[in-house]
């Protein structure tokens, strides 16, 4: 197998697999912290048991997220040697800072939280889960600053045959990276919110632990609606940012071939990359693409033909991924409003509860599709406009990558099945009885 293609597939497999576990980590940590804080404030045992229940599911998910993250950091060196050499001066420090600021914090305090029940003061224990949540979100910020730099490199100068850091402030204030952060993290919150809603719905339908799951449901319904509605607005701004900074990606997202003023927007199309056109277009609305991308119905939108074929991203994959993400985004907005309206008596709407159970996987699909748009749409660049992916790959033998790629798929495949089975198993089992959760009296000192 071709080393470049195999390395790309391997990185894609490792990154996508890792991101099956990241969103729930980012969101469920906060939800667990909220439930535990509500217990501290109200003394309501339901919240204590809820915190333990959701926290345990968080932990099973977190385990796989942690271990699959290491391979990503190391793969820049193993498979993308020339990338690492060329941009390490800017990019490497962001990863190192992420580890120093976030990884130590989250891995230490998640252990303090889990093993601290009955051993440390509940207030410190609650602080531990908050610190875990904050740390995992700090980690998201730094990794997205790194990814944002690959999408829109800033603050560097070409010197000594490589990209060297010129302004750290410019890298930290990269607007593209911040919009990515403000997009990815709330998307993770939505996924986590729907996870809690879906699992709660499963128990509510079976009239199991109704009191506890109603309380879980209510918090998650408010949380999910806030972020679902926010993300529809942010998604639009984010798209406009892509239009300005990554015109080839925008053109691929919209399967837009011809440069034109007052460009029309197509709801659905089948791109034909061979003949540089769409073989099918359904519902074309005049001037809307210009309006959406540049907030001006007469604005010029560059078409894919503006660039030579080898500088265009894969159009169909980018286009379909984008359509899937956006359609699901609107569905989540609608569904979260329904859940919000029923937040006080969800058990009275069995149909909504059933939908919420079947909805659990959809935010996962939306998140994966979103990353497809971001990463496939950036091609053929590994760093947009600065370095091509084909120039970044390590000088490996096809045997090495030909063995490691299937190894990744097999090992990850097995672990993924086990992890989701275990999450489902514990989710269905429901919360532990209150007497099994030991709590150290708050009056005792550390």
């Amino acid at each position: 197998m071709d080393v470049l293609l195999a390395s790309r597939l391997q990185f894609a497999a490792a990154a996508m697999f890792h991101f099956l576990f990241v969103p729930l980590t980012l969101g469920l940590s906060f939800l667990t912290a909220i439930y535990q804080t509500l217990w501290l404030k109200t003394g309501d045992e339901d919240y204590k048991r809820a915190a333990r229940f959701w926290g345990k599911l968080f932990l099973i998910n977190f385990g796989l997220g942690v271990v699959t993250g290491i391979t990503l950091e190391f793969q820049f060196g193993t498979n993308w040697r020339f990338y690492s050499q060329y941009v390490g001066d800017v990019f490497g420090s962001l990863l190192a800072i992420e580890a120093t600021l976030a990884f130590f914090l989250e891995s230490t305090f998640i252990a303090v939280w889990w093993f601290g029940w009955g051993r440390i003061n509940p207030k410190i224990n609650t602080l531990a889960i908050w610190l875990t949540a904050i740390a995992s979100n700090i980690s998201a910020l730094w990794i997205l600053l790194a990814n944002g730099w690959m999408q829109h490199p800033v603050g560097y100068v070409i010197r000594n045959g490589r990209a060297e850091l010129e302004s750290f402030t410019a890298v930290l204030t990269n607007s593209f990276a911040w919009w990515e952060f403000l997009h990815t993290v709330p998307a993770a919150y939505i996924l986590s919110g729907f996870f809690v809603l879906g699992v709660s719905a499963w128990h509510l339908l079976r009239k199991n632990e109704t009191s506890l799951f109603k309380k879980s449901f209510k918090v998650a319904a408010i949380w999910t609606m806030i972020f679902s509605l926010y993300l529809i607005v942010e998604g639009h701004i984010h798209g406009a940012e892509v239009a300005e900074k990554q015109p080839t990606k925008l053109a691929a997202m919209e399967a837009h071939w011809e440069t034109e003023k007052g460009a029309s927007w197509t709801l659905f199309a089948i791109p034909d990359e061979e003949n540089e056109r769409n073989s099918l277009e359904i519902i074309k609305v005049p001037k809307v693409l210009s309006l959406l991308a540049f907030h001006d119905p007469e604005a010029e939108v560059k078409g894919l033909k503006e660039w030579p074929k080898e500088e265009r991203p894969p159009v169909a994959l980018t286009f379909f991924s984008f359509r899937i993400m956006v359609a699901l985004g609107f569905l989540f907005g609608l569904l979260s409003i329904l859940a919000f309206l029923k937040r006080n008596q969800p058990e009275t709407s069995p149909r909504l509860l059933k939908v919420l159970i079947w909805n659990i996987p959809l935010p996962y699909i939306a998140a994966q599709a979103g990353w497809m748009v971001a990463e496939v749409g950036r091609q053929p660049w590994i760093v947009y406009g600065l370095m091509k992916t084909k120039d970044a790959v390590s000088p490996l033998s096809s045997v090495q990558v030909g063995l490691s790629l299937p190894a990744f798929i097999i090992v990850y495949g097995i672990l993924g099945v086990i992890c989701f089975w275990l999450i489902a198993h514990h989710a269905k089992k429901g919360p532990e009885p209150a007497e099994n959760i030991s709590v150290k009296p708050a009056t005792e000192t550390l």
Binding site: V66, G77, F82, G92
Partner: protein, 341 residues
């Protein structure tokens, strides 16, 4: 490229990160590799899992940070080293993945075959990293055959040379001793005594291995050259030896924590011995010293190194403080209650 003080600072920090990683994850990996030898029944095995449970993840972050720091401070060395050591590095990562998952998942489902499955993976995922890290570092100490383009002129089997294998064995037994001491400290009788008595045996084997390793290093490596130039560096191997010899003293007094701490310091000073000998190389070439990756020809720009230094100066003490607190919080003897279902 210009030489600067930050390259030296980051070389030292690079060594410190590896030293702390070995000293901390060393006991997790060691305890895991002894699972079948120490844990005679289900209860004892649960104690071993409990002994590493709160720590393995935080300990592994030192490895991630060592990798990240190599990338940030010496990107060329990171790029060449990681692509040249492709297969052993991926084997290491896969082993660490299954180790971590084993610790987290083993006690989350009550079924004997589930537990047996994860026990085996925990054992394997603990033993292999020790072996691979030992082989990798022995080869780095010796120098690897990289050419002027940074391409490795050998394969995996070439890395499994006698000195590399010796390094692998040394790490396995050193970590096993370290892990047994930790279990002796965390467990109660009879597991505690069994771990202590096993530690005494592996201590002797490790001692023999390190003597052979040091003797062989005079012939196979250039590490001692720096010691001729700067004899003061000899404090590192000297301190390593002194700390190592105090381990059995504490063991005989049943002061298991102190024995473990002495073992941790031994690992730190032993790593310091190797890293000081490497200076200024990060990856020496055994073909021609001119092809070696040094801190001078592979480092980041002074600006990046300065920023990284600032971050390290502020945050590493904070990390150390809460890590220390967490160790103190979880330094209790594991009781029946802790391993209840």
């Amino acid at each position: 490229m210009e030489m600067n003080i930050f390259q030296i600072i980051w070389f030292v920090l690079w060594g410190v990160l590896w030293a702390v990683y070995f000293a901390l994850d060393g006991f997790d990996l060691g305890a895991g590799s002894l699972l079948y030898f120490l844990g005679k029944d289900e209860k004892e095995r649960r104690v071993i899992y409990q002994a590493v449970g709160p720590f393995w993840d935080g300990n592994e972050v030192w490895l991630i940070t060592a990798g990240g720091a190599t990338f940030a401070a010496f990107p060329t060395a990171y790029a060449v080293m990681f692509s040249a050591l492709y297969t052993p590095l991926l084997l290491l990562l896969f082993s660490l993945i299954i180790r971590g998952v084993a610790v987290e998942y083993r006690n989350k489902h009550e079924s004997p075959s589930w537990r047996a499955f994860w026990d085996f993976l925990f054992f394997l995922g603990s033993l292999l990293p020790a072996l691979l890290l030992g082989v990798a570092f022995a080869n780095i100490f010796k120098g690897v055959p990289i050419n002027e383009k940074g391409l490795l002129q050998t394969n995996l089997l070439g890395l499994l040379n006698p000195f590399g294998l010796l390094g692998g064995l040394l790490f396995v037994f050193c970590f096993a001793t370290h892990g047994a001491l930790w279990v002796a400290f965390k467990a109660s009788s009879p597991l505690s005594e069994r771990a202590a008595s096993l530690a005494k045996k592996t201590w002797v084997i490790t001692l023999l291995l390190v003597i052979i390793f040091w003797a062989a290093s005079f012939v196979t490596t250039n590490l001692w050259e720096n010691y001729k130039k700067a004899p003061i560096l000899a404090v590192f191997p000297l301190l390593a030896a002194i700390c190592y010899l105090t381990v059995p003293v504490f063991l005989n007094k049943e002061s298991y924590f102190k024995a473990w701490a002495a073992s941790a310091l031994t690992i730190v000073f032993f790593t310091a011995w190797g890293v000081a000998g490497l200076f200024p190389n990060i990856l020496p070439s055994s073909i021609d010293p001119a092809y070696s990756l040094t801190i001078f020809n592979s480092s980041s720009s002074p600006l990046t190194l300065k920023i990284m230094t600032t971050v390290a100066v502020i945050f590493v003490p904070i990390v150390l403080a809460y890590t220390f607190w967490a160790y103190k919080t979880f330094s209790y003897k594991i009781t029946e209650k802790d391993i209840a279902y």
